[in-house]
């Protein structure tokens, strides 16, 4: 049998690379976001906000091309699952970029020399670092169609979730100073945004499992934890 549709296959591979490349853009945005938090760098934060257009542009470009493939090539089976998964991945990439923007927009609010708490800053930086590791792991899992690596994202995300809870406890104990409390509340919102980035990475892992197995199942179902499959 002759091999066919090589151009279509090449286009699909290129679109996958572009979609997953969006995770590299997000990872870079998160790195700069963490740096902006650490140094209260308002200019860097503004740059992250401005550069989100690149992530949105990647979303629009790849999304449009995937829709065109659906319309013109009638993909089925693994190709169809891959395109469906890439559409989900793109949405997650776009959301993760937005979360970085959300955090960076808070940095001016906290002031150039805020009454910060070093322990809480370190905790948020640790959260961000872990979330960035999740992004990389999600990308590797997708590229390698590695379901086990994808499932491991849940375990890695637990670290982010635990740190988020720790941040909350710290904020509760921050004291009575109004400025410090305001700063802590702002940082809690930042922590929440980073925690969502971890969740987005897990969502991408679920798409890896869908591409490989053909079955979509949440790794963790918050509304039905008893039904969550073993990890």
């Amino acid at each position: 049998m002759a091999e066919t549709r090589s151009q279509y296959q090449a286009e699909l591979e290129q679109l996958e690379a572009s979609a997953l490349g969006g995770l590299d853009l997000v990872s870079a945005a998160l790195s700069r976001t963490l740096e902006a938090i650490e140094h209260q760098d308002v200019e860097l934060a503004q740059q992250v906000v401005a550069d989100d257009d690149r992530i949105d542009g990647r979303y629009l470009e790849v999304h449009q091309s995937l829709i065109a493939l659906l319309a013109t090539q009638s993909p089925v089976a693994t190709d169809l699952r891959l395109i469906s998964a890439l559409l989900h991945v793109l949405k997650n990439v776009e959301r993760m970029g937005d979360q970085c923007v959300n955090v960076c927009k808070m940095i001016p609010l906290s002031g150039n020399e805020p009454p910060s708490d070093e322990k809480m800053v370190k905790m948020i930086l640790a959260m961000g670092s872990q979330a960035r590791a999740l992004i990389g792991q999600a990308k590797r899992a997708f590229e390698g169609r590695d379901v086990e690596l994808a499932r491991d994202l849940v375990r890695q995300d637990d670290v982010v979730d635990d740190l988020n809870r720790d941040c909350f406890r710290l904020a509760l104990e921050i004291g009575d100073d109004a400025d410090r409390r305001e700063w802590a509340m702002t940082m809690l919102l930042a922590a929440r945004a980073i925690e969502r980035i971890g969740d987005n990475a897990v969502d991408i892992g679920e798409q890896v499992a869908f591409v490989v197995t053909g079955l979509f199942r949440e790794f963790e179902d918050a509304s039905h934890p008893e039904a969550t499959p073993g990890i």
């Binding site: 066919t4 549709r5 296959q9 993909p75 089976a77 693994t78 699952r81 197995t213 053909g214």
Partner: protein, 278 residues
């Protein structure tokens, strides 16, 4: 089933091989089962031991690359295969449990019960629209009134009545390609088949006529078992409840159409439906 069973009863009144006749109940007729079917063109072994079932009340699509044996397999169901010089078939083709290759079976009765529509519309060139539809009926000895009634019903069933009711006596070949194909479907329906085989029925039609035939398949499958051979995988995905993938004369995979086109079990099916070979 009724017609063929009658043939068997008439010609083999005490045959031990014919299974007890089942009276048609509701739509539970037109169940086709192939058991170890082999088909040959001389030394060319075109179908290699295929066993599968086509259930009543549904449409089944047969897909596969050219030369995989899908048309040959379908042509075995109404014994058209043996019309080719040097062709022969082995194994069993059962219609509601009755072996259609039983030597006592009347082949004409088989083809009346298992109708067929071909790639290109083939209305009888010298006959009118209504003459085409009722050609088979006139051979059954039915009365004039019955012939007219059933001819009209067949045209309605084929979704053609409104378009031809004012020109029933016009030549059948004067219709458009899509209408001619529906005329051929009406001709097959007029003798009340239990199974309708369709071998690439839309390959010579434009997209609109194709969609009309596909809609018709959706309506007909409620009362006739539909088996459609198609090269158009999107057509298979649109019209069939079940899809069969064949390769090199063998059955590779059979399953619900949505499963076969989203998550096939066999790697060869995956390769074929995604267009990685063909």
């Amino acid at each position: 089933m009724r017609l063929i069973a009658r043939q068997v009863e008439q010609r083999l009144p005490s045959t031990p091989t014919s299974e007890p006749r089942r009276e048609p109940q509701g739509r539970d007729v037109g169940n086709v089962e192939l058991k170890g079917l082999h088909a040959y063109y001389g030394s060319n072994h075109a179908v290699r031991g295929v066993s599968l079932g086509f259930d009543s009340g549904g449409a089944t699509a047969i897909i596969g690359p050219s030369g995989c044996g899908k048309s040959t397999m379908v042509r075995c169901i109404n014994r058209m295969h043996e019309e080719v010089a040097g062709a022969r078939a082995e194994g069993e083709v059962l219609l509601d449990g009755l072996d259609l290759y039983n030597p006592a079976i009347d082949v004409v009765a088989v083809r009346r019960t298992v109708g067929m529509v071909f790639q290109r519309p083939n209305p009888f060139p010298t006959m009118s629209v209504i003459g085409n539809v009722t050609a088979g009926l006139r051979l059954t000895g039915a009365g004039k009134g019955e012939i007219e009634d059933r001819g009209r019903e067949a045209l309605v069933g084929a979704g053609l009545w409104d378009e031809v009711k004012d020109r029933l006596e016009a030549p059948g070949t004067g219709l458009s390609g899509g209408q001619q194909q529906r005329l051929c479907i009406a001709r097959a329906l007029a003798v009340e088949p239990e199974v309708l085989l369709m071998d690439e029925p839309c390959s010579a039609l434009d997209p609109v006529a194709t969609l009309r035939i596909e809609e018709l398949i959706g309506e007909l499958k409620e009362r006739v078992t539909i088996v459609i051979v198609t090269h158009n995988m999107q057509q298979a995905a649109r019209v069939a409840d079940t899809t069969v993938f064949m390769l090199d004369g063998q059955l590779v995979e059979i399953g619900p159409t949505d499963k076969l086109f989203t998550n096939p079990d066999d790697e060869r099916t995956e390769q074929y439906v995604t267009g990685k070979f063909g």
